[in-house]
């Protein structure tokens, strides 16, 4: 009886960690997509609304998916904290805060980072160009992430349980 409970626990543990990894694979494309649509909103605010950056970030934070909301609301808060913070610094701080809680990869982080250095510092057309570039890069990453997810989500969710079963069989 005790053996059976132990075996069930091994299967459950390894199955759940497999599901966790699979979850990460499926989360990344979702996060990238919401990031892209949030940047799209930012572009609209910048290009058509000519909204000040701090305000624009608040607007985006209010409307975007809650997956990326912390990034924008943090950047807005940093920027309007009146201690003489530049947009680049505010964005960087927000990213440092946001990144660890996500399924994003280092290359996604560096794409977002490079956006920070040009944020708010040039005229409208230039801002739009930079935002487009970032969105384009995110789109490429999204495609890659989706392929990866398609390959790995099923694999890991089975692999976890099957691996657990194998361990049980070996130990038995």
């Amino acid at each position: 009886m005790l053996k059976l409970i132990g075996a069930a626990m091994v299967v459950a543990a390894s199955g759940l960690s497999g599901l966790g990894i699979a979850g990460n694979y499926s989360r990344r494309p979702r996060e990238l997509r919401t990031l892209r649509s949030a940047l799209q909103m930012l572009e609209t605010e910048v290009a058509y609304g000519a909204t000040h950056l701090a305000e624009a970030l608040v607007q985006v934070a209010g409307r975007c998916d809650r997956l990326v909301e912390p990034l924008f609301s943090r950047a807005a808060a940093e920027l309007s904290s009146s201690s003489g913070v530049t947009a680049a610094l505010a964005w960087e701080n927000a990213l440092i805060n946001y990144y660890p809680g996500t399924a994003l990869k280092p290359q996604d982080l560096s794409i977002l980072r490079s956006l920070g250095s040009s944020l708010g510092i040039s005229d409208r057309e230039d801002q739009v160009k930079h935002l487009h570039l970032t969105m384009e890069q995110i789109k490429t990453e999204t495609t890659g992430a989706e392929e990866e997810a398609a390959r790995n989500v099923k694999l890991w969710s089975y692999l976890g349980f099957l691996g657990g079963l194998m361990i049980v069989l070996v130990i038995y």
Binding site: V46, T51, L53, A54, T86
Partner: protein, 336 residues
Amino acid sequence: MSATVNQTPAQLRCGDRVIQEILSALPGSIRRLVSALPLYVQEKVEEIRIRQGRPLVVGLSSKDSFLNPEGQLTGRAREAYQVTLNDMERLIHLISGSSLYALEEELRNGFITLPGGHRAGITGKAVLDGGRVRTLKYLSGCNIRISREIKGAATRILPYLIEGRCGIYHTVLVSPPRCGKTTMLRDLIRQLSNGIESLGFPGVTVGLVDERSEIAGCYKGIPQRDVGVRTDVLDGCPKAEGMMMLMRSMGPRVISADEIGRREDVDAIEEMLNAGVKVLVTAHGSSPAELADRPALGHLIRSKWIERFVILGRSRGVGTVEDIIEGKSMRSLGVK
């Protein structure tokens, strides 16, 4: 970097109140130098000139002076703090609220209004579009002009400008640049709009066309300077068009504008005169006789509509009232 950016509140508190307002617009290194100035110097600072790769200059009421890296005044340029590219970039970030793209109109005019009503004049390379300036890029020079409100600056001249119980005369303030014309106009507007108890003046609705955002110092449309409780401000609007708009929409008793001189300004003023609205404006010059020689203004002066000329100068410091002249007879009213 963060040590210079996040100054402690104590550091920010000690010093001149007006200087405090612009400190948050300065990059850390320059902020430290300016806030290290002794209080009696801070009080006299009129402008801070920041030019990339060149010495940092502060304009004081009497002269201008360089600032050395220890935050002391110096007369020698090679001892002075040299403004770096990094300083300039941060400065642009801070004065624009990291939203340069939203300030194209301001860049076209060459200045940005800061919170507190101060203005940052900006130079760089002009980007042209069909022969007109579209925006500026490679911003490399900035002059932060500190606007100081002097309440009561106009108290002495008010008795000469008030007509009867609740009217005022059509008035032109005449002054060379940097003689306190704008400060005087702002205080006149404030007092006329609030009402003046000592003169039994009840206060009138004033319409102010603030084309260069200098008088009310609007930041996002809200006046940062006290221009009185009955004042409507049209910020950043061309004077001639703005006066007509205000007259039609807000029903003011007094219309005010700064630095008139173009043909269309004078035409708009004549329209106001015919509509029974009182006019309170300023013009560059040193005497009504000089104004009379100007192509557009001359016509207005010769038509004898203007009832009072207030001449400002610097003979006893900024904002000295040199004379007040009665417009019909062109005789001095004998102001000391």
